[in-house]
């Protein structure tokens, strides 16, 4: 099938199957999205970061834990493109492997938090009454704590590590999603098309799952992408405070934490993971901004 035929098939005014209609809609969204230069930049960087993380063993010139004490805190050279850290480990290799830890944490948090927040918000918004009161007061309780303090207390109570950091971040990030999903649900639930579904005799579960949740998804995806940069910073802060990934694991925040002693004399050592965090956060923000224009035009 040539590209022209494919395009005509996707943009057809009279699709002949459900999947053609769905792909046509997606293609139009993609056309909108890809015309936004900054958003595409964000997407490309995010994809590159993920590819780097996946292919870290192939790309990394050294073992990230290989120590070379004779060559500590070296400036960037041809052998070590981004220099070496206080134990003579190659910073580039550690950054590449660190992308796995950091991005893995972000993805783990998002995968647990977004569906949970969506479920809580939709149920509270749809049923209203006491279900709404109970769920939203619980949400308020979690919102009332300062995020970092709650996460720190939680991690300290269990034991520092990647898993508990993920749980702690998840515990403190879900309430905004629940609030968002509830607000969306409240505007949708009284719409005529939901009344029409109720009149088919569909159960509440079916209405929430198949008719309300898909409509909340757009703004939720936008919010999640915009929050990803915050989650990266959060994970890095926990790492920096020694409550996240533990040395010698090459998490970006932990790398800054161990290198902060050399901040004045060998500034490039903490600079490199800092740059990585900066680039990743910026890319996710650009991506989220672009997604908002496409998925949630009313919030522009």
């Amino acid at each position: 099938m040539s590209d022209v035929v494919k395009r005509a098939w996707l943009l057809s005014d009279a699709p002949t199957s459900r999947s053609q209609a769905a792909w046509g809609r997606r293609y139009r969204l993609w056309c909108d999205f890809s015309s936004n230069g900054l958003a595409m930049t964000g997407l490309v960087i995010v994809v590159l970061l993920v590819l780097c993380a996946v292919a870290a063993p192939l790309l990394a010139p050294y073992d990230p834990t290989l120590q070379e004490l004779a060559n500590r805190l070296s400036v960037p050279t041809a052998a070590h493109w981004l220099g070496t850290d206080e134990l003579g480990r190659d910073v580039l290799s550690r950054l590449l492997f660190g992308a796995r830890v950091t991005l893995g944490m972000v993805i783990a948090v998002v995968v647990t938090v977004a569906p949970f927040g969506l479920a809580v918000g939709c149920v509270a918004g749809y049923y209203g009454g006491w279900a709404d009161t109970i769920l939203m007061r619980v949400t308020d309780v979690f919102l009332a704590f300062p995020r970092l303090i709650l996460a720190l207390a939680f991690v300290a109570a269990i034991h520092p590590g990647v898993t508990s950091a993920v749980i702690a971040i998840a515990l403190t990030t879900w309430p905004p999603y629940a609030r968002l999903a509830r607000a969306e649900t409240l505007t949708i639930r009284s719409a005529d098309f939901i009344a029409a579904v109720r009149l088919t005799g569909a159960s509440s579960g079916r209405i929430i799952l198949r008719h309300i949740a898909p409509l909340c998804l757009g703004s939720l995806i936008v919010r999640v992408t915009l929050d990803m940069s915050a989650i990266i910073l959060f994970a890095a802060s926990l790492g920096f405070l020694g409550m996240g990934a533990q040395p010698p694991s090459p998490e970006w925040g932990t790398m800054i934490a161990t290198a902060r002693r050399f901040f004045l004399d060998q500034w490039w050592v903490p600079l490199m993971p800092g740059l990585a965090i900066f680039v990743a956060s910026l890319a996710f923000n650009l991506l989220g901004d672009g997604l908002r224009d496409v998925l949630d035009p009313k919030q522009r």
Partner: protein, 245 residues
């Protein structure tokens, strides 16, 4: 087929419907006219089960209606909404909207039924996989009517089904509703603020004002001007003035 006795609906302290009584025979149509806020749509929403906070007695086909209805009720009684722009899910194709009632009621033969329903409301088969935003207002209302017919109901509640459409499309939709009634032996209860629309479709009608049904009369009496209540006379005069203008 349908009987409503002493129906009362309260919103907080305001009584929106104060003791409305009427009956509709099988295969017939009953129209309710009134200005905005006269409580006519509220009657329909109570009858359809969307509003469960009412008192009085309502029966459909001899069965008394409880505030919450079972699945069988929703198979037999369906509703068409006023605004075709708001009554179709914005992210679902026509095909999905029409198959939803079939899935809920466990009715098979989905493909044939959808093709038949589209033909019945005079929509081209090419409209089947379109999204609502790719359809015109009249086409959307046809989709909404087709959706209401999917579960093969006996009663159709029509909440101002034409008032959001422009005049030429209004006539098309009204004729479609009349045809469907002939073919399927449907019972209609229709709400509108437009006397001409009601008189076109309903041999019997009731006039509502301030939550009360102030007069019940036949369409013939209305055309001949045999009205008793001053509010009916007002509405009639207004509608003839509009037609002449």
């Amino acid at each position: 087929m349908i009987s409503v006795q002493e129906l009362r609906v309260k919103f907080g302290t305001v009584e929106a419907v104060r003791g409305v009584t009427f009956a509709v025979g099988e295969g017939s149509s009953f129209g309710i006219v009134g200005e905005s806020g006269s409580g006519k749509s509220t009657v329909l929403r109570a009858l359809s089960g969307l509003n469960d906070d009412w008192t009085g007695r309502m029966t459909i086909a001899g069965h008394a209606l409880a505030p919450s209805r079972g699945r069988d009720f929703f198979r037999r009684v369906q509703m068409v909404f006023q605004d075709p722009y708001g009554s179709l899910h914005p992210r679902q194709t026509v095909d999905r909207a029409l198959s939803e009632p079939l899935e809920v009621h466990g009715m098979g033969d989905v493909d044939r039924r959808i093709r038949q329903a589209l033909a019945e409301v005079a929509l081209p088969p090419s409209a089947r996989f379109r999204y609502p935003h790719q359809l015109s207002g009249g086409q959307r209302q046809r989709v909404a009517i087709a959706r209401a017919l999917m579960s093969e109901p006996e009663v159709l509640l029509l909440d101002e089904p034409t008032s959001a459409l422009d005049v030429s499309v209004q006539a098309e939709v009204l004729n479609l509703l009349a045809d469907l009634q002939d073919r399927r032996k449907l019972t209609y209860v229709m709400v509108s603020h437009n006397l001409a629309v009601i008189a076109h479709l309903c041999p019997q009608l009731g006039v509502m004002q301030g939550g009360e049904m102030v007069e019940m009369l036949s369409a013939e009496d209305l055309r001949a001007g045999r009205v008793r209540h001053p509010h009916t006379a007002d509405l009639r005069r207004l509608s003839t003035e509009l037609e002449e203008a």
